[in-house]
Symmetry: C2
Subunit: 395 residues, 2 copies
């Protein structure tokens, strides 16, 4: 029987009523004759609330204990959804990440899935049950509970879809798909009917929160189509798949992030900085790290979100690398599209657009799919709108 | 090194401030040169709140999913306590019931511990860490998450103390020990300096909530002394141990329970009733079950607390055993003491005392440690005070 994996985010299961709506939708999918695996996040703001509790107990809590704490959230959501399905006469069973066979490395709070052994999920599907799986969590080869980082439930869903040979992976959220920019910032933003894995990955790494970058990477490796849809229903969706026909050099979207820190180093300091970062377990995601080393020295961008203990880093730098200057309040705007840098056209135009806004560009990084520009944090919303108008709406 | 197991109940870890107080106490115990294992319950009313959420989703939720849901509670408390200890410079690590090796049968929501394999706990103690263990939960041989029933964290603590060869098991709560009756009902109730396992077990089974009956049974089997103390501190305690010197026939305490249901059956109906009860997974604890079968028929007492689906039982009875009458609003008062029934003196006196209160006795059951009297629920507080005055204060 065809298997479909559906993932519902925190706002889709924020209260008992919304859990009921999700249960109705899952029941309808099951009734259509498919086997259904449902991946859920924690209810509403549960994860942030637990995190706030932890910070009250300890300003810099151990990552291992944070993972133990935060995984309570999905446990509550998945058990309630399973009960709601059973109440509707649909046999269901919930499994933790560990019970579902989501094996990860031991990078607590930001673990990577290394293998999926979904034997218990398969057994229960064979018994005709809907299987609810806790998103965002796994178990390491050291038998420790781990979490996959923000947006990790998407990764759980795609990894399970791949391991189960599912026909597709449906990701439900408040928004009906992927847009050319955050519609709350850019009212003119358009839903993309299709987008390639690479473009989606770059958008996610550049700050778009609609889909998780690691999830897209998994989908690409196993060729799983992702359908991004609204929990509220409707036909609108974005399909993330291998080929998304588009004109070369076309800019598909603008993404942005804030809360960045720029470290400016004298020449040669980079070699000493790296061990300091490693000691603090600071692992900037590749999308959040711009690095230039030239005759004048090097600069490095870190995200506060990934820096669990910024104060410790600051103290370390003062003690060991007093020449490093730390600039806070940095943001980045990025334009994404396959072949975007085939010529210098787009990067030149982007810099000119920001110049018109009187926004100094503090750094530039490009890849074959992306142009990222570092600017002052406060300028980010205006810059996103300007780049969307100048690069997306015109092409 | 000597090992001590300390258990802190839900009210002792109800908020971040109280978790800090517990962390200070644990840190002091560790500093005194002992290895410390801490068993925690869920914070405050978390378990009841989760249960209420479940009832909103489904009036009769699956017990397996209830266990998945409820075990989120201890997970939160134990991770926060571990962080609080680390914040105080005390190395600590938290483990779930499963990680601690608490193996149970598969009786969801009311599982029994069948074996404790505390290898990970021992490894971490050997590394000098305080080990925090989730109370109330275990894992079945089917690898399913289970819970031990109300008060089950006491059982976790005693079972771990036994498996680790601990020098004792300290149970911390709002009350400094075990009293001759609930002090909120009987202001004259006295703290018992010592009590035997058997007496404590009978008190707990008869409704005293201060210690869990299964926990005491475990302590008795392994000869572990239990020290019941107040989280707030102070020297007062009750020691539960093998020998508690006392005059024979002395009544040590009065306990009570409410929310009972009396089933009155015609002769021969009992054989048909039992399969109905089993089908509903109704497992009255031995202390809550009084059974008489005589020429007039049989009667059976069940506790609503153990009956997860009383409405289903009522419907079954109507359909299959229409002759059974169901009386709700029943309570029980019990007097406990070693040798209490060596003569008829105490049972005669108890019935006379209730008679003076104009409280009809609907049933009597006795054991070598206990006299239990069934009465109307509303009369229970008065009856407890009268029995305490007449049987405890006078001896």
């Amino acid at each position: 029987m065809a298997i479909v994996v559906q993932k519902y985010g925190g706002s889709s299961v924020a209260d008992v009523e919304r859990i009921g709506i999700v249960a109705d939708r899952v029941a309808a999918t099951k009734a259509s004759g498919r086997d259904v695996v449902v991946v859920v996040s924690a209810m509403g703001d549960t994860t942030d609330e637990l995190l706030a509790l932890a910070r009250r107990v300890s300003p810099n809590p151990s990552r291992r204990e944070l993972d133990m704490l935060l995984t309570a959230g999905e446990r509550i959501a998945m058990a309630l959804l399973s009960m709601a399905l059973q109440e509707r006469g649909v046999p269901a069973v919930s499994f933790t990440g560990s019970q579902s066979g989501i094996m990860t490395n031991d990078a607590h709070t930001n673990a990577r899935i290394v293998e999926v052994r979904p034997f218990r999920v398969q057994d229960e599907l064979a018994r005709g049950k809907v299987v609810i799986v806790a998103g965002y969590q796994g178990v390491s080869y050291k038998r420790e509970v781990t979490t996959l980082g923000r947006g990790g439930s998407d990764t759980t869903a795609v990894a399970l879809a791949a391991a189960l040979g599912a026909e597709g992976c449906e990701i439900y959220s408040d928004v009906a798909g992927v847009y050319s920019a955050d519609p709350r910032v850019v009212p003119e933003a358009q839903r993309l009917a299709e987008i390639s894995y690479e473009e989606m990955q770059e958008l996610a790494e550049a700050g778009a929160r609609v889909l998780n970058a690691q999830a897209v990477e998994f989908a690409k490796a196993r060729n799983i189509a992702i359908y991004a849809r609204a929990t509220a229903g409707g036909d609108e969706e974005t399909v993330v798949r291998r080929h998304a026909p588009r004109a070369p050099g076309c800019v598909v979207g603008i993404a942005s992030e804030t809360g960045l820190v720029l470290l400016c180093l004298a020449r040669g300091d980079l070699g000493e900085l790296v061990p300091l970062l490693e000691r603090l377990d600071a692992r900037p995601a590749c999308g959040k790290q711009l690095r230039f080393e030239g005759p004048l020295g090097a600069s490095l961008v870190l995200s506060l979100e990934d820096l669990h203990d910024f104060e410790a880093l600051r103290a370390d730098l003062r003690a060991h690398l007093p020449g490093v200057s730390v600039v806070e309040g940095i943001g980045a705007v990025s334009a994404i599209g396959a072949g975007i840098n085939a010529s210098f056209h787009n990067v030149r135009k982007a810099i000119r657009l920001l110049d018109e806004l009187e926004t100094p560009v503090l750094g530039v990084a490009t890849s074959s799919f992306r142009i990222s520009l570092l600017i002052e944090e406060a300028k980010v919303p205006d810059a996103v709108r300007r780049l969307h108008r100048g690069l997306v709406e015109t092409t």
